[in-house]
């Protein structure tokens, strides 16, 4: 699995693309404090690095917002309206990236998926076999068989299945949260693997919950 570097280049090594001034502070990676030029995005930039936060699952939302506002104040295209067009374009590009970064990191689910992605784990494509426990799978199979034969019994079993599903999902969410905390402490790749496979199961559970909702809605049009 290919791993995208997630740790930013130490800021002290960066130099302004316009006047070659070394860029030392967190804000300076965006706009050179010497000449005022917005800096081009580099392949090493991640959503974490541009917002000056560590690449972890847990994050202090107030720090994230504070950093975002700090970047916004110096980088937003409104600050470059009367500048040359190439500098305007740099601000536009970089600000678009920072906007995406903030949207992604602000949402715990998007943030988790993004961190796994930069670490080389794809969570969106969850076509692999599920790790649903056998008894849940069996219940689901029975409900589907009963739907045509005995709708009343099917409905009863569906509600039982729904609550078992919910319980299983809650247990999984707890495990996921534990693995996230574990990774933040140890940066161990074992946790990442567990998370990636756990999220595939979670996606499967979510789609099954939607199926249950659909069946319930069809049985009771009102």
């Amino acid at each position: 699995m290919r791993s995208v570097p997630v740790v930013a280049v130490p800021v002290s090594q960066l130099k302004c693309g316009h006047c070659a001034q070394p860029l030392e502070s967190f804000k300076a990676q965006h706009v050179c404090p010497q000449c005022g030029a917005p800096q081009p995005l580099s392949a090493a930039d991640t959503y974490f690095s541009v917002l000056g936060v560590s690449p972890n699952f847990g994050l202090d939302a107030s720090v994230l917002e504070k950093h975002f506002y700090e970047v916004l104040r110096v980088l937003h295209p409104d600050r470059f309206t009367t500048f040359a067009s190439d500098l305007k374009a740099l601000s536009l590009d970089r600000m678009s990236f920072v906007n995406r970064a903030y949207t992604t990191l602000k949402d715990p689910t998007l943030r988790r998926d993004y961190l796994l992605e930069v670490k080389g784990f794809k969570t969106a494509e969850s076509k692999t076999s599920s790790s649903l426990p056998a008894e849940l799978a069996e219940e689901w199979f029975e409900v589907q068989e009963l739907l045509l034969e005995d709708p009343a019994e099917a409905r009863k079993r569906l509600l039982e299945f729904e609550s078992n599903l919910e319980e299983f999902k809650n247990q999984l969410l707890e495990k996921l949260a534990g693995w996230e905390r574990g990774y933040d402490l140890t940066q161990g790749s074992g946790e990442l693997e567990k998370l990636a496979s756990g999220i595939q199961t979670l996606n499967y559970l979510n789609s099954m919950q939607r199926n249950v909702e659909r069946i319930k809605a069809n049985a009771h049009p009102n």
């Binding site: 010497q34 104040r73 409104d78 009367t82 536009l92 600000m95 678009s96």
Partner: protein
């Protein structure tokens, strides 16, 4: 550390390029404002008012005659309904199939031509963009007169729920009017800037903006000078105009029932019903009763409206604002109780029925302390001040109001950028070919929230051209969709195999191609020259006419105190100036006025002497 912005800020440093004004281009009226000493001020129009009614009248068809705008045009709305255009903002950026419902409610004739709509005025037709440009131009001239300098840069506001085509149309109108449109900002966001100018106002607010023809609701977070839009919803075809229409509709039905005539068949009568309806609406915002009255050929139709009747009539229309408000809160993941204020914007927000509805929707008394007509223009001026670099404390962060997507196989919309995404924003998508040696790929961009393509708004079709002829599926063209800070889409494409930039041909679904805009700009310059000539003529007349009046007035004294041949010379010069004025020739007027001045110098001297000696003889 010194920030040497001067180094990069080459070309157009703020002061040399003149001021940046803020413009509210409204459905019913427009305003221009500028920040002076840190406070936004609405500039006077050439009519000496704050508001410029967005009305334009072409009634005088004589050669060289200019259309009339503002209050003067508004007065002609009824008298000369066939030559007067209003509420043109409702038509901006629309295609022929969009306007059917609107055009039935407007007394002027709308014709569709090649995917574009035009308004018919006598023998001429005008596009909504051209009419909007004329309004903006009048504001430009007003600002120049008020400030005594040339004004060529502006921030123009648009309804937050305007789509890309409507924004493009507004920007084109600005260009045609001679403006460099530095930024377009959303009206409720502009209002929030004026509201938040007082830095003590912080927290989560809702802006309920019911204008003449559009409705927007935005939820914002105000924090330390950052104005962050969290969500926005709206309806670009709902406003105070609809309330007028409803009242006029009642009158039309009653006239039809009692007199057997359809008043809407007569454009003048249609216009007078709308005018009377507007008057009734405004009166009912102050009084409990209003008399609706129009004269029909010989007779008069009168109807007394109580506020209760009016409210019952319009409440169902106003209720249409409720769902957008709830959805905006939902999008922002907030409850009404999370808000610290609800700000009212727009003329119709003066109506008590609107205020009580808003209170009912948000569960709190709305804040009606802002000037509902002027707050948007003031906000535009503040944004202009930010862009000029004078205000480094404030910053707006806005969102895209509608999702942007691409047509995929089977006519399904695939969303690329979802609504309420912060702007600027970017999305990338890789395309390939389906046939061997295919060199072009068509891309259809749409805006909207519905699943099927035909239920969304077609924005543009792009053609990727000059792709290397390769087996199907081999080319990889990465297309970048960028929504800039104006909320307008920009597209760029790159061939990932070669790294070359790819040609993108843009065809807007409605409105004007770049070539058409260039053509109109060139024509606009010709018009501008004609305008300059016209203004010089007016100046020459204005200088000559007082000279003529003074000479005529003193002619009897001249007979008394001047030799008869001198009087004859003066009489000749008077006749010469009158003739020159009748010809409207600038040079002749100036020459004749100078000649008259020349030969009346002696008369003036004698008259002054005369006056002095008589006052010496008869002290008061």
């Amino acid at each position: 550390m010194p920030i040497q912005i001067e180094v990069l800020n080459a070309g157009t440093p703020g002061l040399q390029a003149g001021p940046i004004v803020g413009i509210d281009l409204g459905t019913t009226h427009s305003l221009v404002a500028l920040v002076k000493d840190g406070r936004p001020q609405v500039l006077n129009t050439r009519e000496g008012k704050h508001l410029l009614p967005s009305v334009i009248s072409f009634s005088d068809e004589s050669a060289g005659a200019q259309p009339v705008l503002g209050f003067e045009a508004k007065r002609r709305k009824v008298r000369d309904a066939g030559h007067t255009i209003f509420s043109v903002k409702r038509l901006l950026g629309l295609g022929p199939q969009d306007v059917q419902k609107i055009s039935d409610a407007l007394p002027y004739e709308i014709v569709g031509a090649e995917g574009e709509i035009r308004i018919k005025m006598g023998s001429q037709t005008y596009s909504p963009v051209e009419i909007s440009a004329m309004i903006l131009r009048e504001l430009k001239l007003s600002a120049e007169q008020a400030l005594g300098c040339s004004v060529s840069r502006a921030v123009i506001t648009v309804p937050a729920y305007f789509n890309d085509a409507q924004r493009q149309a507004t920007r084109t109108a600005g260009r045609l009017a001679g403006f460099d449109v530095l930024r377009m900002i959303n009206e409720p966001t502009a209002a929030s800037l004026a509201y938040g100018l007082d830095r003590k106002r912080q927290g989560l607010i809702a802006v309920y903006d019911l204008g003449g023809g559009t409705f927007d609701v935005s939820i914002l977070k105000l924090h330390d000078g950052i104005f962050e839009v969290l969500a926005t919803r709206g309806d670009t075809a709902l406003g105070g105009d609809d309330l007028d229409q409803a009242i006029a509709q009642v009158a039309a039905h009653e006239i039809q029932a009692s007199q057997g005539i359809d008043p809407y068949a007569d454009i003048q009568l249609h216009a007078s019903l709308l005018e009377a309806a507007e008057k009734t609406k405004i009166e009912l915002s102050i009084n409990d009763e209003s008399l609706f009255s129009v004269s029909l050929n010989g007779t008069t139709y009168e109807r007394k409206w109580t506020r209760g009747e009016f409210e019952a009539l319009v409440l169902p229309i106003l209720e249409r604002t409720r769902i957008p408000c709830m959805k905006a809160l939902e999008d922002a993941r907030l409850k009404p109780s999370d808000l610290s204020d609800v700000v009212l914007v727009g003329g119709p927000s003066r109506l008590s029925v609107v205020q009580s509805l808003v209170e009912n929707i948000f569960g709190r008394k709305p804040n009606a302390s802002m000037h509902p007509d002027e707050v948007v223009a003031e906000g535009a001026a503040i944004q202009a001040d930010i862009l000029a670099g004078n205000n480094r404390e404030f910053l707006l962060l806005d969102v895209v109001p509608l999702s942007l997507g691409l047509e995929t196989y089977g006519g399904i919309l695939s969303t690329l950028i979802s609504r309420n995404t912060r702007i600027p924003t970017v999305a990338r998508e890789t395309f390939t070919t389906f046939v061997d040696h295919q060199t072009g790929v068509d891309i259809h961009v749409l805006q909207g929230e519905r699943e099927r393509v035909e239920h969304n708004r077609s924005l543009a079709r792009f053609k990727l051209k000059g792709i290397q002829p390769l087996p199907a599926g081999m080319p990889r063209i990465e297309v970048t969709f960028l929504i800039d800070a104006d909320g307008i889409l920009q597209v760029a494409a790159k061939d990932l195999n070669t790294g070359h930039e790819q040609a993108v041909e843009v065809r807007p679904s409605f409105g004007l191609t770049d070539a058409e805009v260039e053509k109109m700009l060139a024509a606009g310059l010709e018009n501008a020259e004609a305008d300059v000539e016209f203004r010089r003529l007016v100046d020459a007349r204005n200088k000559a006419e007082p000279t003529l009046r003074a000479a005529e007035k003193n002619l009897s004294d001249a007979h008394r105190i001047l030799p008869s041949e001198d009087v004859k010379t003066i009489e000749g010069a008077i006749a010469g100036l009158k003739a020159a004025l009748a010809q409207n020739n600038i040079q002749n007027i100036q020459d004749a006025a100078a000649a008259l001045n020349q030969c009346t110098v002696r008369l003036a001297e004698l008259l002054i002497k005369d006056a002095l000696s008589s006052s010496a003889k008869n002290p008061a």
